[in-house]
Amino acid sequence: MSNVAYDLQTKTTVPNSYKTSSTLGKRIGFGILYLILGIIAVVQIYPLIWLFLFSLKTNQEVFGMSPFSFPHDPQWGNYAKAWTQGHINLYFFNSVLYTVIAVVLTVILASFVTFAVTRMSWKLSGLVLGLFMAGYMIPLHSTLIPLFSFFKTLHLINNPLSIILSYVAFNLPITIMILSGFYRTLPREIEEAAVMDGCSIHRIFFQITLPMTMPVLSTTIIINMIYNWNEFVFVNTFISSDKWKTITVGVNNFVGQYLTDWGAIGATLIISIIPVLIAFFILSDRIVEGIAAGSVKG
């Protein structure tokens, strides 16, 4: 009996748990439900649309007209201004550079650790894994002063290395957390066979295991990219020279300088969030998966 019901349930695509006894009351209920869900969606998205609208307006339009109006004569010049005047082009390039280097290092180092901990047998593996995982719980701000003086001693203040090393260290815990969940589900037979055939451990890692983890690697890569792109505190603390600032911090300074020019501020903000939004449009499933995987394990 229950099997029959179960089959019916999975074969139909409509939400039949509600449809089977579709009364008027239920339809109204459904309507209200969708209305609420829709309003929440609008609340989540509309501020960004509003931002885009005022990034194309002149100050007269922003101050004089309804905030919900469309720009009369779209001021694309705001974007040109933001891009060249506030060093935004330089900051953008720096952000790309730090993000790419840090992501590559994080994912490689995390894969090494996860492989050693979950595939190889040694006494302290549990303790080492725990040490990495616990790093996730430590508030970054409690490490900030010693990190600052450490980088200062090494003359790494105003040096991209301080940023990249910090990104890698602080993203290793979450990356290893996501990776280890996946490694545990991988079958060991192929690796065992490779050992029998006399394959070296490095070849096993690089040519057998690592390629098998491609799906989860792409998840961790995109999650790491978003974290690094958006990071604020490290750059704000370790970098004071404009030459090495990232777009997240640069945008903040730009806004401070051009307080009243809403159009240009809007344009810089849009430029700073566009890469993440594009990544989301292409890879939303991976991002959702990474967020779900990373925290549920916690």
Binding site: I45, F63, M137, L144, L269, V288, A292
Partner: protein, 290 residues
């Protein structure tokens, strides 16, 4: 077989670089923060050892406890809003059409940097040209609130962008947990005549109680560490009305160059985070009898 997979040299080669990084940049600094708290130091010259003076001052510092209270208040708000996120996730996970698109739309703000969110909301909250007050004035409100400039309102106002930012994150996690519940359990309950509310309350919520517990910890401890958005939006002001522990520490250390006292605050933040994590785990573990 054994020898290849337990080769000490290879293990060291694979583990040590990453281990060195987290020891050097996370664990040693944590210990050093506690030590620097024992010194009088402006960050440039020689640190002078002064014993427990900073920590004694910290315990007596009204500002510190006020900022801790603000952080905790945000944590309490966040925990309460978990109920809303859970209800939304229950709706989205009950096989409704468009659930996948909707949860992705809800997630969008979470992808933006806190700086971008802060700057955007600075404009939304702008007393004369912002979206909120324009809307209020359109509906005939003559004296709309000043929001971030009002020391009584500022913490509540700040919580709006925080909910906006994190709603999607919690919904994604609750949704994933709910989708992991075996279909058979729900079907069996339906056949026994349980209505959707009973199924949600008696079956689904108890089954994901582990995830809910983790999310409560994340909401409270995450709020205790909260910094970026508040630092950019209000800098802890007006008149410290939105000061949280991390912003207090940051201003003390990197604006006033009190590295010794700043370190003591940082260590206090760490201790409070660890105590809260332990406390919530203790409080919630008694309920996990199923």
């Amino acid at each position: 077989m054994k020898s290849v997979m337990s080769n000490k040299l290879v293990i060291s080669l694979y583990v040590l670089p990453a281990l060195a990084l987290i020891l050097l940049l996370i664990y040693i600094p944590i210990v050093l923060t506690g030590y620097y708290g024992l010194t009088d130091w402006n960050g440039i010259g020689q640190a002078k050892f002064i014993g427990l003076e900073n920590y004694i001052n910290l315990v007596k510092d009204k500002m510190f406890w006020e900022s801790a209270w603000h952080s905790l208040l945000l944590g309490i708000f966040s925990t309460i809003s978990l109920i809303g996120y859970l209800i939304l996730s229950l709706i989205l996970a009950s096989k409704i059409k468009g659930a996948n698109i909707l949860r992705k739309i809800y997630l969008v703000p979470m992808l933006l940097s806190s700086v971008a969110i802060a700057q955007l909301w600075a404009k939304i909250f702008d007393p004369s040209n912002g979206m909120i007050n324009r809307l209020l004035m359109m509906f005939g409100v003559d004296n709309p609130p000043l929001w971030l400039a009002d020391s009584k309102l500022v913490l509540y106002a700040l919580f709006i962008p925080i909910v906006w930012q994190y709603a999607g994150f919690y919904i994604i996690i609750f949704y994933a947990a709910l989708k992991n519940i075996p279909e058979e359990l729900i079907e069996a309950a339906k056949i026994d005549g349980a209505n959707p509310f009973q199924i949600a309350y008696r079956i689904k919520i108890p089954l994901i109680s582990g995830v809910i517990k983790v999310m409560v910890i994340l909401a409270i401890v995450g709020s205790l560490k909260y910094f970026d958005l508040i630092f950019v939006l209000t800098g802890g002001g007006p008149n410290h009305a939105s000061e949280v522990m991390a912003s207090y520490m940051y201003t003390e250390a990197f604006t006033k160059y009190n590295f010794g006292y700043g370190s003591a605050i940082g260590f206090g933040l760490l201790v409070i985070c660890l105590i809260m994590t332990w406390l919530i785990q203790k409080l919630l573990s008694s309920k996990e009898d199923f």
